[in-house]
């Protein structure tokens, strides 16, 4: 019955967190002692009762404030200077704007909606297919949680002890850039669009202003990640500094945020955090039940008994996460699977940092795969051309991303080189 509730709920559009809770509450309420409905609330509370978790609402708040300060336009202007001159320039700008945006935001969904709102109409004006523009926006926004700061990374470090947030942040830099390069290369090879208007100049910003406008927001990730790496602050504290920085930029430098807007911005940040944290709490309760019945131990024994090489294991993990990514929200999937797979990976000699980035990259690809791909939903919400047209356009990008994932998997240095080079 619990499974029926869970699957039915998921299938018929019940929020994921509510589906999990409904199934668990039913199970605990009807189960024999020691099962008791009280356990659900107990374990949810426990799942949320953690200081590092506070970094999530704080980074989301920083992103919300950055958005409200009109930073999206500055980033786009900045990216235009970098890559706007190439053929199919706007497509490249879309990709590299995501790279810069990635440094401010920990979430791909935020990136899709912010950049998509500006780019999808603009690209269409310049002769691109609207569905292609939406697909490109969604595909490139996957970079967001790979390049630091990143909410999935914070959650990953919470699940797995002994892997630190700053090191994982560093490890994501090269994979994020690599993804951008490959997407750009695909665009350069395959996209032949004659842009009609010279989009790069029409907004009248001078090159100098655009550069200056881009530098201030770009300093934020440098400063946030830098202070964490120097060991001066914990990720949670760094997140609070990021909020303060975004507040100062918005209130005093760009002056786009008025004090009267703050209550709404704070409320929206908590609301959007609650969507993630509710899933974390619900999955924590579900995981307790799984652990209590030793499901992870049994799965671990099975995998260790049946998969004997590191390569086999990594390939199996990739296939598993790509499959899971079709149907699951990335963070929920991570919360359930990482506690089981991480110990196996370690026992097989996979570097924990390498494994962490692979898992996150893998699940972030799930953001653009139907039927459940959050970035697809958001892009469709902006573009409004019908899901099936976007999905058709996104296929090549999906293959590009899987190709990058395979490179990351079999050339571990792409992930571990930067943290090692900096002495971590």
């Amino acid at each position: 019955m619990s499974y029926a509730i869970l699957l039915g709920g998921l299938l018929f559009g019940l929020p994921i967190a509510v589906s999990i809770l409904a199934a668990l509450l039913w199970f605990m309420a009807t189960g024999e002692p020691p099962y008791n409905i009280r356990i659900v609330a107990t374990e949810m509370f426990k799942g949320l009762n953690s200081f590092p978790l506070l970094a999530i609402p704080l980074f989301i708040l920083a992103g919300e404030l950055m958005n409200a300060s009109g930073i999206t336009h500055r980033i786009i202007a900045f990216a235009k200077i970098l890559v706007g001159r190439f053929p199919a320039g706007l497509a490249h700008v879309n990709i590299w704007a995501s790279v810069i945006f990635a440094g401010l935001s920990g979430s791909a969904v935020a990136d899709t909606s912010a950049i998509g709102r500006v780019f999808i109409p603009e690209m269409e004006k310049n002769g691109y297919d609207r569905a292609f523009a939406a697909a490109l926006t969604a595909a490139s926004s996957v970079i967001g949680p790979i390049i630091p700061p990143s909410i999935p990374v914070i959650i990953y470090a919470l699940i797995v002890s002994g892997v630190s947030v700053p090191v994982l942040f560093l490890a994501g830099v090269v994979p994020g850039l690599l993804l951008a390069l490959f997407l750009s290369a695909y665009v350069a090879l395959r996209v032949k669009v004659k842009e009609t208007s010279a989009g790069s100049k029409q907004d009248g910003t001078s090159t100098r202003d655009a550069l200056l406008g881009g530098v201030l927001p770009l300093l934020m990730p440098v400063f946030v990640v830098g202070s964490m790496l120097l060991g001066v602050v914990t990720p949670t504290e760094a997140a609070s500094f990021a909020v303060a920085y975004a507040l100062i930029l918005g209130l005093f430098v760009y002056r786009k945020i008025k004090p009267s807007m703050l209550p709404r911005l704070f409320a929206h940040a908590m609301r959007d955090s609650a969507v993630i944290l509710a899933i974390i709490a619900a999955v924590a309760a579900a995981n307790w039940l799984l652990t209590y019945n030793r499901v992870p131990n049994m799965l671990t024994d099975w995998v260790i008994g049946n998969v004997d090489s590191k390569t086999m294991f990594l390939l199996a993990v990739i296939v598993l996460f790509l499959f899971v990514g079709l149907f699951f929200e990335g963070i929920a999937a991570m919360l359930v699977l990482v506690p089981i797979l991480h110990p196996i990976a370690v026992s097989m000699g996979v570097d924990p940092v390498h494994f962490g980035i692979l898992v996150i990259f893998n699940l972030m690809i799930g953001l653009i795969t139907p039927p459940l791909g959050l970035c697809l939903f958001v892009a469709e919400g902006v573009a409004n051309v019908g899901m099936s047209r976007i999905v058709r356009q996104i296929m090549p990008f999906f293959f590009v991303e899987v190709l990058v994932l395979l490179i990351l998997t079999f050339v571990p240095a792409t992930v571990t080189w930067l943290p090692h080079a900096l002495g971590f």
Partner: protein, 311 residues
């Protein structure tokens, strides 16, 4: 029937005191009865407070915890009075003797949890990066990280240091940046977490003796047959001693290792220890007596038991 045995330490039995205790408990009980023992190490089912609550609710049957016990049975916090136990063997004598039995009885009534046996997390010691500490006078003006627990704050104040509550996860940063000058922990914890690389001096003052409590839900215990009860009780005592031995083993190893890696370790003389005791105990005892109210009698009882065991 299945016994779920949960604790927060690592699983391996060669380095982890609770891991070792759990492992031997499982082997004895499964070998001599038809019961099954499932181990949940490393906080798989929750932190210590949560494990205690689960045992009280009968969700988890056996748990091995340290600090969490005194939150549900305040009288147990008398064991934390600084400089109470002059050595580990004295602590074992007290806890395995009449005092330990009386405390177990009291806590059973209070919580529904039966203390099957005592293990240990070890003596806690001060480290710092400024100067060698031989007497409390050397602690004056130094900032020490303590857990946000009032008893520890009172103790460090009494010794003349400045207590600073900082989360465990932030301790390495705080020591590196000089937010605090020192900290206090058992040697094994100091060594395993590399804190000796951040600190130059350690004083083996052994201010607080950490006991482990091997607890079973009494309701579950009563549901067992007398023969099973006997095996479970015996296995628990062996497990407690196993935990103590592993703990002693890693402490001895740790004291050597931190010195080999450049830390200066000082063992105070009996006279210097008396100075520590006189500086720290009165404030803590007064504060604790106020906290315990009706249970304050346990303070004197413990002092008497220690005196008897030391003779």
């Amino acid at each position: 029937q299945t016994i779920r045995f949960a604790h927060v330490d690592p699983a391996d039995w060669q380095n982890s005191k609770k891991g070792a205790a759990a492992e031997i408990f499982k082997n004895i009980v499964e070998g001599e009865t038809d019961l099954t023992v499932e181990l949940f190490p490393a906080g798989a089912l929750g932190n210590e407070d949560e494990l205690v609550a689960q045992a009280q609710d009968g969700i988890t049957q056996v748990v091995m915890v340290s600090g969490a016990m005194s939150k549900v049975c305040p009288a147990a916090s008398v064991l934390d009075i600084p400089y109470t136990f002059p050595s580990a063997p004295v602590a074992w004598k007290v806890l395995d003797g009449d005092f330990g039995a009386a405390l177990a009885e009291h806590c059973l009534e209070k919580t529904g949890l039966r203390t099957l046996a005592y293990g240990e997390t070890g003596f806690r010691n001060f480290t710092n990066g400024v100067r060698e500490i031989r007497t409390p006078a050397d602690m004056k003006g130094l900032k020490f990280r303590v857990q946000p627990i009032p008893l520890y704050i009172e103790m460090v104040k009494g010794l003349g240091g400045e207590p600073t509550p900082i989360a465990w996860t932030e301790l390495p940063n705080a020591l590196t940046t000089g937010v605090v000058d020192g900290q206090e922990n058992p040697v094994g914890v100091i060594y395993n977490n590399g804190l000796h690389k951040l600190q130059k001096y350690m004083t083996l003052d052994g201010h607080v003796y950490g006991a482990d409590f091997l607890l079973i839900s009494d309701e579950f215990f009563q549901s067992l047959s007398p023969a099973e009860q006997e095996v479970v009780q015996k296995a628990a005592i062996v497990a407690g001693n196993m935990g103590r031995s592993i703990q002693q083993f890693s402490t001895a190893l740790g004291v050597n290792a931190v010195q080999a890696e450049g830390m200066q370790v000082y063992s105070p003389t009996a006279e210097e220890l008396a100075q520590f005791r006189n500086a720290a105990q009165p404030a803590v005892k007064e504060w604790l007596a106020g906290e315990l109210g009706d249970d304050a009698g346990w303070i004197d009882q413990l002092d008497k038991a220690v005196a008897a065991a030391t003779e």
